[in-house]
Symmetry: C2
Subunit: 365 residues, 2 copies
């Protein structure tokens, strides 16, 4: 598939998923002279407003998928919960990047952890919980506190339940819906970081600077560059993320979230989770780099050369979640801040409505 | 009209004109959570591909204009050759920024020059040429060489004829189509610069750094910041542009092109022409400022606070005209360069197909 000729200006990029990530991908593609066709079941998808063409249909609608594949020159996706069958169906009809392996592994926490094991990449201790009876042996392995997570379809803290000393493990099993899960040991981390990199069709890798992330209630709150991390740990983080990209034979942007453990821990970096796509912790790149993660992803899937990911400024990205977006007039007036709003009609608690990038001259020369 | 309430996220910006400027305005509006409706007679307009809604109709189609005005929350335009009657018709039905005065004056070279006279702003000597017989007295006033220019609808060097010593002035009159014109004295300038500023609905003005421009065959070739200009001349240029913005009661981005004359000239800055809109010589702002001229224009017409126009990098913008766009693969691979393509289906000689911004750390601290 990597022999596919590059996408030329005027050609059409098909994007599965019409949320804010799809919207920002479509905006980046437009700057490159490409046209976008967004496919999403939700007729209110914010990406539709900036796309030249749209398909509103379920991901299982083979007639709609076939028409979509016939109308575009390359297919990519904005999120990893597109059904694997959808991608397989499309892959027989159009070039698809990233490929099935990235999607299949990233949409299942157990597959993700097993890939890390196979590659010798440290993670928190974990155990599979396929049925209720597995919980006890899983706790024996992971200890307490631990977090029970659905294998699939969890994001922004959804599909998770904490099991602390004294908690009834069966209550946690019921809370996540009695579905296939994994139990992960709770990690007393010092900080969270992520690597957002891109891998081209030719296998070349370019990583943006490592970002330091703060989550609140399971949802990313802020991302800051430069991260507070030693050069040696930064190199290790980049090497880990690169190993994962190669193991997935990934093409496109890949985000790898990691925990940094306190000094003295045997391994100071543990991989928390991966996302085979543009990622919220890379939103700062839009205003602190010449090429954003969105353009870099389109470059990768289009077969263009990857851009220099150098950062010209320091940045802190703050998500605007739910009612926080009501502060937009003050944010629009704030010097050094750039406001990004997603065009979502309805504000709901926990919903990502926009973000603001606060930019400053580089502090680290 | 300036009592109009601000445009809120989710509201709709109507844009008259669907070329690359309309496209880049629509992209900027989308980043701000606004939706765009583009109105353009040409069904192949590149802005349509990034707009939520489109109207393909002549500018004289009152039914289409009325429907457009009813569908949007504010109207702006990407170019000054929208008929004044179109803007007047819309202004009775929706808020329109910039207003009729900016459009009327900027679309007529004679009105433009008379405004400068009234404001005490120096220009090249000029004279009206309403009919063939006027040419001789005009030459007596402006001297030779001089440039005969149509009052209306000229751009990128079109509608112009040079009259040198020995040339038959009547041939020039015929070359421009025997339409109302002005004759301008040829100016032996040292360099060309432009001021791109924005004026908000509240009258506040923010100017981007002065840009140095090079034209080839009457078409902008490159724009560079910082411009090679003394601080005193830069201040004078900013003051002149601000005076014009106020005189027009302009709202939105305004570009003022000026000639810098050699040292020793009685007045070193002459205004060449103005554009009541985003301008090719401001394209560098997309990659060298936190807020581009496109976002700044949308902010102004939406009634949002203007952004800080500070420049974080040096930049040179190079237009990709006609076949020059064929170099896109090399440009896409060039470190420090950001390629912008306009999604135009057909490459034609003299047609602006895209531009490239080459960015470097600030040389002037």
């Amino acid at each position: 598939m990597n022999e596919t000729p590059p996408i030329r200006p005027g050609m059409i990029v098909g994007i599965l998923g019409g949320g804010q990530l799809g919207r920002m991908l479509a905006l980046a593609a437009a700057e490159m002279g490409l046209s976008c066709h967004v496919y999403c079941p939700d007729p209110k998808s914010p990406a539709f407003a900036v796309a030249a063409a749209r398909t509103v249909a379920p991901y299982e609608d083979e007639a709609a998928l076939a028409a979509f594949a016939g109308a575009v020159d390359v297919v990519t996706f904005e999120f990893e919960n597109v059904p694997a069958e959808t991608l397989a169906f499309l892959a027989g009809r159009a070039p698809v990047f990233p490929g099935a392996r990235s999607l299949t592994i990233a949409q299942d926490r157990l597959f993700e952890k097993r890939l890390m094991e196979a590659e010798g990449i440290p993670t928190a201790p974990f155990a599979e919980v396929a049925k209720q009876a597995d919980i006890y042996s899983a706790i024996a392995r992971a200890g307490r506190p631990a977090i029970l997570k659905t294998r699939r379809l969890g994001y922004d803290g959804k599909g998770q339940a904490v099991i602390r000393a004294g908690d009834d493990p069966v209550a946690a099993w019921r809370a996540i819906g009695e579905v296939p899960a994994i139990l992960e040991a709770y990690v007393a981390f010092e900080r969270e970081v992520s690597v957002v990199l891109a891998r081209g069709r030719d296998g070349g890798i370019r990583a943006f600077d490592i970002t330091e992330n703060v989550h609140e209630n399971g949802i990313l709150a802020t991302s800051t560059v430069p991260a507070w991390i030693t050069p040696a740990l930064a190199d290790e983080a980049l090497a880990i993320a690169g190993t994962i990209a190669v193991a997935l034979d990934h093409v496109g942007v890949l985000a790898v979230e990691m925990f940094v453990l306190p000094e003295g821990a045997p391994r100071r970096l543990l991989v928390n989770e991966i996302a085979p796509r543009v990622h919220n912790s890379g939103h700062w790149t839009s205003d602190a780099c010449l090429c954003s993660q969105f353009e870099q992803h389109i470059r990768a899937v289009a077969g263009w050369p990857l851009a220099d990911p150098a950062r010209h400024s320091d940045a802190t990205m703050t998500n605007l979640i739910g009612d926080a977006v009501d502060a937009w007039p003050a944010l629009a007036a704030e010097p050094g801040a750039r406001l990004h709003l997603y065009g979502k009609a309805e504000t709901r608690p926990g919903r990502k409505m926009g973000h603001v990038n606060r930019i400053a001259p580089r502090s680290d020369g």
